[in-house]
């Protein structure tokens, strides 16, 4: 019997778990995760604005197929030259292949005053507890200025700031207090959404819903006593309740050699292959990598499929495809779809897209566990919805 090669996967999020399940037959796969649970991070928005915890997490062990080993521990160090990792217990593991997919570290401290602000009003990028604080504020606020601001343009789920403000608007309207609340979306970009093409879809919606947009505003300092946010650009913004999208950093793992991570701790991975530097046995996938496309579960999923194919000898490459289903309230939704060669398509907001978005969320757990079932379906979906095709429809 031929001994299988050892494949270590650091992180059991969507990228790590899909990769593990895709390679379970061919490799001796071990997933190392610092929590026994796998979190579905888009659910934080559902907690923040709908108090819905249903899809938040599942035990990771229930999502991995038979034959995949699971270690619940945090990784202290990874040495790409030695081909080894060290766990928090100082146990060392060696590998033939490694995929690093531990996600990001949320750093509230990078923005002065943000820790205090999060304690007051919460956010929807860090923890369920913080998302719950958002739910409390949007359900108790009666008047004043409600702000969603961005402190880091490279945050997880690029549509989340506008999704947040539009879902908050829905809550305020349903509560009958909207006319007493001034809503502001303050972003670092020259427009509401960074991609100019998709902004053409978004801005009329924000205008129609009476949401003010403040551009070139990167939250830098928060004065919670005087309720003011100061931007890097030098502007000031007053609030009665505010949520600031926090700074995201790479994983807290020492990775050798040092040049395999950038100054913010993100792992330097090739955008087409996810390979780390010249190490053809090491890959970084998902939010933790420097890959230039969006930090989303779908991106991690697609990157995992590329890595799986590459280690099986196929010449697969990332197209940079994004597929961010988003809700804008009142049972309408849209998708941010782009790739390396095409800017975000102007997909209109409608009920069908909302239904698609909800279905994507509801099938999420099954997609992780059964790639053999879902891969053919998603292959067709991604082919039929290629940005080049959609651009011909939504000009």
């Amino acid at each position: 019997m031929i001994e299988k090669e050892k494949f270590l996967i650091v992180g059991g999020g969507s990228g790590g778990a899909i990769l593990a399940n895709s390679l379970a037959k061919e490799f001796d796969v071990t997933v190392i995760n610092d929590s026994p649970n796998h979190y579905y991070w888009p659910q934080l928005l559902q907690i923040a604005f709908r108090n819905d915890y249903s899809n938040l997490y599942r035990p990771l062990s229930s999502l991995l197929v038979k034959g995949v080993n699971l270690i619940i521990d945090s990784v202290k160090k990874i040495d790409l030259q030695e081909r080894s990792i060290t766990l928090s217990t100082n146990k060392k593991l060696s590998y033939d292949y490694i995929a690093i997919a531990p996600g990001v570290t949320i750093d509230h401290k990078s923005i002065e005053g943000n820790e205090k602000l999060v304690n007051q009003f919460g956010d929807f990028h860090s923890t369920p507890e913080n998302a719950s604080k958002v739910f409390n504020i949007v359900n108790s606020m009666k008047k004043g200025t409600f702000v969603i601001s961005v402190g880091d343009p490279y945050h997880r789920c690029p549509p989340s700031p506008y999704e947040g403000i539009l879902l908050a608007d829905e809550v305020f309207r349903l509560r009958g207090v909207r006319e007493n609340i001034n809503m502001v979306l303050a972003v670092p970009y020259p427009r509401a959404y960074p991609a100019e093409t998709f902004n053409e879809v978004l801005e009329p919606i924000l205008k129609e819903r009476g949401i003010n947009v403040m551009t070139f505003f990167t939250a830098d300092k928060i004065d919670t006593d005087n309720k003011k946010i100061t931007s890097l650009e030098g502007e000031e913004l007053s609030y009665d309740a505010a949520i600031v999208v926090p700074v995201h950093k790479g994983p807290k793992i020492e990775i050798k050699p040092e040049d395999s991570v950038n100054q913010d701790g993100f792992i330097n991975a090739d955008k087409l292959t996810n390979q780390i530097l010249s190490y053809d046995d090491a890959f970084a996938i998902g939010d933790a990598s420097t890959s230039t496309n969006a930090k989303t579960g779908v991106t991690a999923h697609l990157q995992a499929k590329v890595v799986a194919k590459r280690v099986l000898g196929l010449d697969a490459k990332n197209t940079g495809r994004t597929n961010c289903p988003t809700e804008i309230g009142f049972q309408k939704g849209t998708f941010v779809i782009s790739d390396y060669n095409h800017p975000a398509v102007k997909v209109p907001a409608n009920t069908i897209n909302f239904i698609m978005k909800r279905l994507f969320a509801d099938v999420y757990w099954d997609v992780i566990k059964h790639p053999e079932f879902w891969d053919p379906i998603f292959d067709v979906y991604f082919e039929r919805t290629e940005p080049e095709v959609l651009w011909r429809i939504f000009k």
Binding site: R50, S54, N55, K66, Q331, T351, I352, F354, I355, R358, L359, A361, D362, V363, W365, D366, K369, H370
Partner: protein, 136 residues
């Protein structure tokens, strides 16, 4: 050995079935999804379509007969070749026909005067060209 494999296969199948039940349960528990589907399906337009379903089925049957499909294809080609301006002008000329009661008989001299108007002359040229194509 074979029995063990059989038992394993059965256990995997049952697990898959349970996963699919969980998936279905997720969908059925999703209030927002169900509300959106209901709002999309339960509408005045849907009721009208359901009410006219027998006529619609008959119409679809007629339209999808091979000879009609070919004609429809030609008609669609014709429609694609028309630009919006021409369609607007055709609409305008049809609205003139609705006012036939207001039209007065025209004398020979009136006809000759009208022929010198550029829009009449242009329209006549178009009609002559059309007649030539039809007659060829």
């Amino acid at each position: 050995m074979e029995e063990i494999n059989e038992a394993e296969l059965q256990s995997e199948s049952i697990e898959r079935l349970l996963n699919l039940v969980e998936l279905l349960n997720n969908i059925l528990k999703d209030e927002e999804l169900l509300k959106a589907i209901s709002n999309l399906l339960v509408s005045e337009e849907t009721f009208l379509v359901i009410d006219r379903l027998p006529q619609l089925i008959k119409l679809i049957e007629k339209l999808t007969r091979q000879e009609n499909l070919e004609k429809l294809d030609l008609l669609l080609g014709l429609l694609e070749s028309l630009d919006k301006e021409i369609l607007n002008k055709m609409g305008d000329s049809l609205s003139v026909m609705k006012k036939k009661e207001e039209a007065k008989p025209m004398s020979l001299s009136g006809l000759i005067t009208s022929l010198s108007q550029p829009e009449v002359s242009k329209g006549l040229s178009l009609m002559l060209n059309l007649l030539k194509v039809l007659g060829s």
